[in-house]
């Protein structure tokens, strides 16, 4: 009983915190992106990818909040969102986009030009196949594999080029995907609070474990 109350409280706190912190992080990354565009005249592809990840994540947390908040809501939204790994729904669709963008980020950071859009192509194909045939058996495997690869390569990239941003994202992805993979209510709720803290530190520019970065 106490456990249930604790999990419910943590969940409520997590949803509320997410609702502010993740969109604000997206906004900060967006401002940096457009400021850089203004000064250099072109978009930084790494920043565009990070901005896309946080924007998608913002949409996810806003929808999650709307679905879970105890007010009257559209049945269509609840049916579309589902909020669990039960085939392809709005929730898994958005998680799939984030996982694909994670792989895109790796390709971009390592300048593997031929693989820049590969994960997005693969994921789009999966969605199109689902729309025409209802087949979504690849989704779970894809999210787990792409999530794991993103995390491994983000750590490798972060330590190789001593990049604080990549390391922060690696920690963020580890906590976010770890909680999805473990699928335990209590762990998920605590994880949400932890990655919110990581995001606050990162977006405010205080996350600097590497004093001298090889690539800024």
């Amino acid at each position: 009983m106490v456990d249930d109350v604790l999990v419910a409280t943590l969940a409520h706190l997590g949803f509320s915190l997410n609702l502010f912190i993740i969109p604000i992080t997206a906004l900060i990354v967006g401002i940096k992106l457009f400021r850089e565009k203004k000064s250099t005249g072109k978009y930084n592809f790494v920043r565009v990818t990070i901005f896309s990840i946080f924007t998608t994540f913002s949409v996810l947390v806003i929808l999650e909040f709307l679905v879970n908040v105890p007010v009257v809501k559209s049945a269509l939204l609840v049916d579309l969102f589902v909020g669990d790994f039960e085939g392809l729904n709005l929730y898994t669709f958005l998680i799939g986009i984030i996982a694909s963008l994670g792989l895109t980020l790796i390709a971009v950071a390592n300048r593997w030009e031929s693989f820049y859009y590969s994960s997005l192509f693969f994921y789009s194909g999966m969605v199109i196949l689902f729309l025409f045939t209802g087949f979504d058996d690849f989704l779970m495997i894809y999210v787990y594999i792409s999530g794991s690869l993103s995390i491994i390569f983000l750590y490798l990239t972060a330590f190789r080029v001593k990049d604080n941003g990549a390391l922060a994202l690696a920690i963020f992805f580890t906590i976010a995907f770890g909680s999805v993979a473990l699928n335990d209510d209590f762990i998920t709720r605590v994880s949400v609070l932890i990655y919110d803290v990581v995001l606050i530190i990162y977006s405010l520019g205080f996350f600097k474990p590497f004093k001298e970065e090889v690539v800024s």
Partner: protein, 217 residues
């Protein structure tokens, strides 16, 4: 029997013409070290292999409409391999390096789609897009840059596309043959010589002709 004989003969001629076309492209690559010639040669080899396989399956009476697994036919597999090469060639030509994995991803999902559904529509749509779009782009670029090789490739794609669209075997064979000949003419510089004559030379001839008229008057 006559139809079968015609099919074998036209297929053999197409193969021979394509092999003949390989020689000048490889020679041009050796001289200029331009990787585009290697790409063209690679595509020509893929078409030759495809034609060989079609010929063998015809001679040994292998039905290419047999389902290998699910609703995947042997004919589809051959088509997919050729389309991967064709798509990659187009991407290479347009220098779209970021899209290099797209042909493999599309083919993967088309095969999965074939495993799940009997419908041939996705394959047909893919084939039409991959035939007529490259044909248009190659012919446009070839005309703009006065490049005979591009015109030859464009005509090869165009004839193949028309032949595949009109599902009459004799007509398809004829189109294949015309495509191979057009490609060969492109590799030997026929279009540069006769379709796009040198403008300066043309102006000189024109000038001489006009001056002759003036002198006579």
């Amino acid at each position: 029997m006559a139809v079968q004989f015609n099919f074998i003969i036209s297929e053999i001629i197409a193969i021979v013409v394509l092999i003949l076309a390989l020689r000048p492209t490889l020679k041009k690559w050796k001289d200029s070290k331009n990787r585009m010639y290697i790409a063209v040669s690679f595509y020509a080899v893929a078409v030759i292999i495809y034609s060989f396989l079609t010929l063998f399956s015809f001679i040994y009476e292998i039905d290419t409409n047999i389902y290998v697994i699910g609703w995947v036919k042997i004919g589809y597999i051959l088509g997919y391999i050729l389309f991967i090469v064709q798509f990659e060639f187009l991407l290479y030509l347009r220098r779209l390096k970021k899209f290099y994995t797209l042909p493999f991803v599309v083919t993967f999902y088309l095969v999965v789609g074939n495993l799940l559904s009997e419908s041939a529509m996705p394959f047909i749509i893919y084939a039409v897009l991959l035939t007529f779009i490259p044909a248009y782009l190659l012919l446009r670029d070839g005309k703009r840059n006065r490049n005979g090789l591009a015109i030859g490739m464009g005509l090869l794609f165009l004839f193949w596309g028309i032949g595949q669209s009109i599902q009459v075997p004799v007509f398809f064979q004829l189109c294949k043959l015309l495509g191979a000949i057009s490609f060969y003419l492109g590799t030997i510089g026929f279009y540069e010589k006769y379709v796009f004559p040198n403008q300066e030379e043309e102006a000189k001839i024109m000038g001489t002709w006009i001056s002759k008229l003036v002198v006579k008057d």
